[in-house]
Symmetry: C2
Subunit: 414 residues, 2 copies
Amino acid sequence: MRNLKIDGRRLWDDIHDTGKIGGTAKGGVRRLTLSDEDRQVRDWFRTQCEALGCTVTVDGVGNMFALRPGKNPNLPPVAMGSHLDTQPSGGKFDGVLGVLSGLEALRTLHDNGVETEAPFMLVNWTNEEGSRFLPAVMGSGAHAGALAVAAVLAKTDRDGVTFGTALDAIGYRGTMPVGAQKFSAYFELHIEQGPYLEAEGKTIGVVTGVQGMRWFNGRCTGVDGHAGATPMHRRADALLTVARLVDRIDAIARSHGPHAVGTIGELTPAAPSINVVQGEVSFTIDLRDPNDAVLEVMEAEVRAAAAELAARNGTTIEIERIWRAPPIPFAAECVAAVREAAADSQFSTRDCISGASHDAAYMQSVCPSAMIFIPSAEGLSHNELESSSFEDCAAGAQVLLDAVLRYDARLGGR
Amino acid sequence: MRNLKIDGRRLWDDIHDTGKIGGTAKGGVRRLTLSDEDRQVRDWFRTQCEALGCTVTVDGVGNMFALRPGKNPNLPPVAMGSHLDTQPSGGKFDGVLGVLSGLEALRTLHDNGVETEAPFMLVNWTNEEGSRFLPAVMGSGAHAGALAVAAVLAKTDRDGVTFGTALDAIGYRGTMPVGAQKFSAYFELHIEQGPYLEAEGKTIGVVTGVQGMRWFNGRCTGVDGHAGATPMHRRADALLTVARLVDRIDAIARSHGPHAVGTIGELTPAAPSINVVQGEVSFTIDLRDPNDAVLEVMEAEVRAAAAELAARNGTTIEIERIWRAPPIPFAAECVAAVREAAADSQFSTRDCISGASHDAAYMQSVCPSAMIFIPSAEGLSHNELESSSFEDCAAGAQVLLDAVLRYDARLGGR
C-alpha cells in the first residue's frame, strides 16, 4: 500500500473545471451555498464519486457523504473532506482543494485496486463560508451537535429565503439524520490563507490546532453635531471614540504576539455626512489566539480600553460578545499521521495553528481530526486572486492520501 | 421710526403653522427643496407678502424676492432673507426663522404705516440645505455668480430628477434673470447651530464673519486579509490607517484652537465583514477656521499626517480637495447696525464667527451683509429636536428690524 501516487494533473484539471461553475471574470469563483451553482457542483461531485463505486448519502442539512467500502464494515470510516461553497468573491482553492484532493485520493485507491481496512469516506460540508446564511461552518457544526438542525433550517438569507427552502430548491435535503454518520477519524486539506508557509518556503503545514475566537458587536453613542458649529471641546464624537479603539485593539493584539490577532472589520456611522459630527457608530471586533487564557485577557483589555476611550470623549460604548469558540487542539495521532506522511515524501514542513475556523474544528469534537495546509500565494484568501501552485496542490493531496492510509493501517493493527 | 415693536406671538405662530408643512412626528420638519412641501410653503410665503402690498418676483433658479417700496425708488433695496427648505430630518427654525422674522418685520412696518428710505426686500433663497441637490447654499451661490445657472439646473437628485425639472414641477422657475436683482445691503437672522450663546447666557450673536472651509474626499488602500490568518505584522489594514487619521485630525484641530474644527463625518470600508482586514476605506474630511492661513497650515498638517500614517502601516492614501470656501468677513457697517440694534433693546450680545455657511456669505460678495444669531438649545441643529425659545426668536426678529431700519436711515442721510 506504499508508493501510491496521486495524479496532480487530474486534480489540477478538476480544480479548474469545477472553477467554471460560478467562475468570475477575474478568475475567482462565486458559488454561494445552496445556490444553483452549488447544486451543479454537488451533482458533479456525486457523479464523480459514484463512478468510483462509492455510495453517496445526504443528511438533513445537505452534508454529502461518499462511502468507499473497506475490509472491515464494522469500523467507522476514515474520512476526508472540506467544502465546495465559496465566498461571494472567492477563489478556486478555499475548501475546493480539500474535497477534490479527497476525490483524487479515492481515484488513486480505485485505480490501484486498493482495499483499505476501514471504509473510506469523502465529505462535502454544507455552508462552510457563512456568506449567504450565518453562521459559518454550519453543516459540520450541525453534524457535531453545536447547532440545532431546526435553527439551521430556519436561518434566512438577505432576501428572506430560509436555509430549508433553499435546500429543498436545489434538491439536497437528504433523509439521513444529521449527526448519524460516525467516523474513525477526519482529515482535511486546506490552503493556509495566511503567509507563513510561503514566507518560510515550506510545502506542508502540519496543523496542530485551531485558534480560539471571540466575536463582538459594538455600538458607541455620542451626540450628532454640526461639523462647523460644534467646537472641538463641546463634541461627543462617536466616530473618534471608535477610531481610537481600532488603534488600541491593534496595540493589544500586538502586545500578545506572536499568534494573537485583533480586527475591526466593520465600522458604520449611523448618519454619515461630510459636515456632521457622528453621534452613533456601530462596529465589530474579532479577537483570536491559540490560548483561551490569552483571549480572556485580551477581551478584558479591549473592554477596559473601550470604556476609558468612550468616557474620555463624552460618549458611551456597549460591547456584546456574539460568538465564542475555544481553541481546538487536534488529535495527536492524526497530527502524527500527517507529519509522517509529509516525511514519507520528504516535503518540508512547518507546524501551524489555523487562524481561520474550519469544518475540522467541529469534527475534532466528535472524532480524532487533523488538518494539512499548503501555501497560499501572498497569504491571500477570500479573494478572487487567491492562488496556490500546481506542485503544492499535488503535494497536499499526496500527504492527505498518505495520512489517511497511515491512520487506516493502524486501525488494521499494522 | 423708533420703538417699532415686532409681534413675537405672531412670529411664533407662523413658525409653528408653517412647521406643519412637512412636519414630522418628532416635531421636526422634512421640507426638501423643490418638493411639493416646498411649493406649499412658497405659496404661503407669496400670499403673506402680497397681503402686505409687496410684489413677489421669482428668478430663474426659484429664488423669491418680495419688494416693499420705499421713498426713493432709485436706491437698491435693503434686504432681509434666509431659506424655507429644511434638512431631511430638520427642525422648525433653521432658515425658517430668518424668512419669517423678515416677514414679521415687513408686517410691523405695514401695520405702523412706516415708509422707509430705500425699498425693503425679503428673500427666500432656493436650496440652502443641499440635501436633495448638491452643493448647499445653491440659490444664493447662483445669485452671486459663484455657480453657473446652467450647471445648477442640470444638478440631479438621487432619483435622477434634475433641479430644472423639479423647479418646473412646482411652478417656481421665474423669468427674472439670476443675479439681476441688486441690493443696498443684506441682513440674515439665523439660529446659532452651536453652543456658545446658550452656554454664556447671551441673547444675540453679532456675527462678524463666516469661517473658511475646506472639504476633502479620501481613500486609503491596503490589502484585504483574513482576520484569523493574517498575523498583525503582515497586515496592511486600511481601516487602521484611517482610524489613526481620525484621531490625528482631532489633535490638529485642537492645536489650532479656539475656532479651528476638523471632522471625519463619513468613513466607509469597501467590503465590511467581521472577519476581514479591510483593504480599502473611503472617507471625508471637513476643516474650518476663520483664518485662511490657519486652514492652509491645517491642510498641510493633515496631508503630512495621512502620508506618515499610511506609510507606517503599509498602506497608501489619497486625499483630494473637493471644495474650498475662503473665510468671509461681514461688512463693518452692517455688523455695526446689528450691534447698535441689539444695544437699542439692551439685549446681551456676543461676537460670533459662523461655523456653518449661510446665504449671507455669498451675499457679502455682492453687497454689504451681516448676520444675527440667537441661541440654539444645546447647540443642536440639522436635527428634529432643534429648538430656540419664544423670547429669543422675538429678540432676534426685533434686532433684525432695528438693524435694517438703522441701515436704511443712514441711506437717507439721517
